[in-house]
């Protein structure tokens, strides 16, 4: 009970900070929007090609830009905040879960925003349907939030963090990317998405176990 109370308090605190700073909406979403515009500029006027690659592009974009949410400047990861939490006896695992919940919620909102932009700009040839799409987005966001939160701790205070953290997350996020992209593609190809959804669930569970088991070590390494 105490664990969840701590986790929910930390998640609320993270979201409050983000509401004040507005980093996700004012910086990360416009940055992803800029990337969505750059790609068709590079491809040219082949509208059919753009429509065909709309969903694969969407998943690549939300992976590369979504992870930025976890190491936004307003996240309460600075050493003084951590030290206070340790002094207060906050469970590192509860802190990890709280941060993951906040990051996952922000990533879900981010992914919906970028999804709407993709629909407007790319006119994808097929639509996976709202219910299925929402489920895939939630599973993808949960996995990416866990992975990015761990990477945030591993790279805290490193000068080259902006490049190093994505280098850590991108290869490890491959099961998430493949699961999400294939779920969307399978809707139109075969209609069977269950194996890909299971892949996402399995990846999320493995990440949750790893995150909880390493929470104390990550806390120690980030100080």
């Amino acid at each position: 009970m105490m664990f969840w109370r701590q986790a929910m308090t930390i998640a609320g605190h993270e979201l409050l900070l983000e509401r004040r700073a507005g980093e996700t909406w004012s910086i990360i979403v416009p940055f992803a929007g800029a990337a969505l515009i750059v790609v068709p500029m590079a491809i040219g006027t082949d509208l059919q090609l753009i429509s065909r690659i709309a969903w694969p592009l969407y998943w690549a974009m939300v992976l590369l830009f979504g992870m930025q949410i976890a190491w936004r400047h307003s996240a309460s990861e600075r050493t003084p905040v951590r030290e206070v939490m340790i002094l207060l006896g906050v469970d590192p695992a509860a802190r990890f879960v709280g941060r993951v919940l906040a990051n996952a919620l922000l990533m879900t909102v981010f992914m919906v925003g970028v999804g709407l932009l993709s629909l407007l700009l790319y006119s994808p040839v097929s639509s996976p349907g709202f219910g299925r799409f929402a489920l895939v987005v939630l599973l993808f966001a949960a996995g990416l939030a866990q992975l990015s939160t761990m990477a945030a701790d591993l790279t805290l205070g490193i000068g080259a963090r902006a490049a190093l953290a994505p280098l850590l997350v991108a290869p490890l996020a491959m099961p998430l990317l493949i699961g999400a992209a294939q779920s969307t593609a399978s809707v139109t190809r075969t209609g069977v998405i269950l194996p890909w959804l299971l892949m996402l669930v399995l990846a999320d569970l493995i990440l949750a176990v790893v995150g909880l088991l390493t929470a104390r070590a990550l806390e120690e390494a980030a100080i």
Binding site: L154, V210, A217
Partner: protein
């Protein structure tokens, strides 16, 4: 030092015998002489898997003992693992072009998962390189070193999990699918590469120890003798 030289000489001799045996094997029925590359490709990948397992063992060792030697072992082994993963990928691509028709097939589970494995360990090395404080470096790298090794069985069993282009294992419980002369050459090369790994790892550990000693001397000199270098809490130099 003498032991290291001896190890290098033995590894070198074993490699010469391995190459000679590889050339005495008959050409494969379909792949002809291209099949001989297996004598470098398979030992390279075996060595990469071994090296990453040693990295994980070194990481666990550091977490338990906080002895710097374990961290040096983990870091050194990862460097060698990355080197041999690249050799494994490149030899696979050289073989793939004439036999499969492409250098790299993105649809192949083994190739794609090996490329991802390489990226993860490149990130591991980047994390080590960019973290300056040795204790923080060891703490952070040990977590990634333990977590990243999960990928090794995934890469190994990817050919069984996904039926794509890469063939399944040639050595099975019910016997080998290869000709006995090819098996003999491959086993000698596996032994030669393992000795080479031990020699490279010993040399890297020695260099890392010297680097650490030099860094400690530099810190002491920078402090001018009046101030002692920072006391790294919990650090044990082995």
């Amino acid at each position: 030092m003498t032991r290291l030289r001896l190890l290098m000489v033995v590894a070198g001799l074993a490699a010469v015998v391995g190459v000679a045996l590889a050339y005495t094997t008959p050409p494969e029925a379909l792949q002809r002489t291209y099949a001989r590359i297996v004598n470098i490709h398979v030992p390279s990948m075996w060595l990469a898997f071994l090296a990453f397992a040693v990295t994980a063992a070194g990481s666990i060792g550091w977490r338990i003992t906080r002895n710097r030697s374990w961290d040096r072992l983990a870091g050194g082994s990862a460097e060698i693992g990355v080197l041999f993963t690249i050799i494994g990928l490149v030899t696979g691509m050289i073989w793939g072009r004439p036999v499969w028709g492409v250098f790299f097939d993105w649809g192949d589970a083994r190739m794609a998962s090996t490329a991802v494995l390489l990226l993860v360990y490149l990130a591991y090395l980047a994390l080590r390189r960019t973290t300056i404080d040795p204790e923080v470096r060891a703490a952070r790298a040990s977590i990634l070193g333990i977590v990243a090794v999960i990928q090794v069985p995934l890469v190994y069993f990817s050919v069984n999990l996904f039926r794509t282009l890469h063939q399944t294992q040639s050595f099975r419980p019910d016997g080998s699918t290869m000709h006995p002369t090819m098996v003999r050459a491959l086993l000698v090369n596996l032994a030669a590469f393992t000795l080479l790994y031990l020699a490279l790892l010993s040399a890297r550990m020695l260099v890392a120890r010297l680097e650490d000693a030099a860094a400690a001397r530099e810190m002491a000199a920078a402090a001018g003798g009046a101030v002692l270098p920072p006391n790294l809490t919990g650090a044990v130099d082995g």
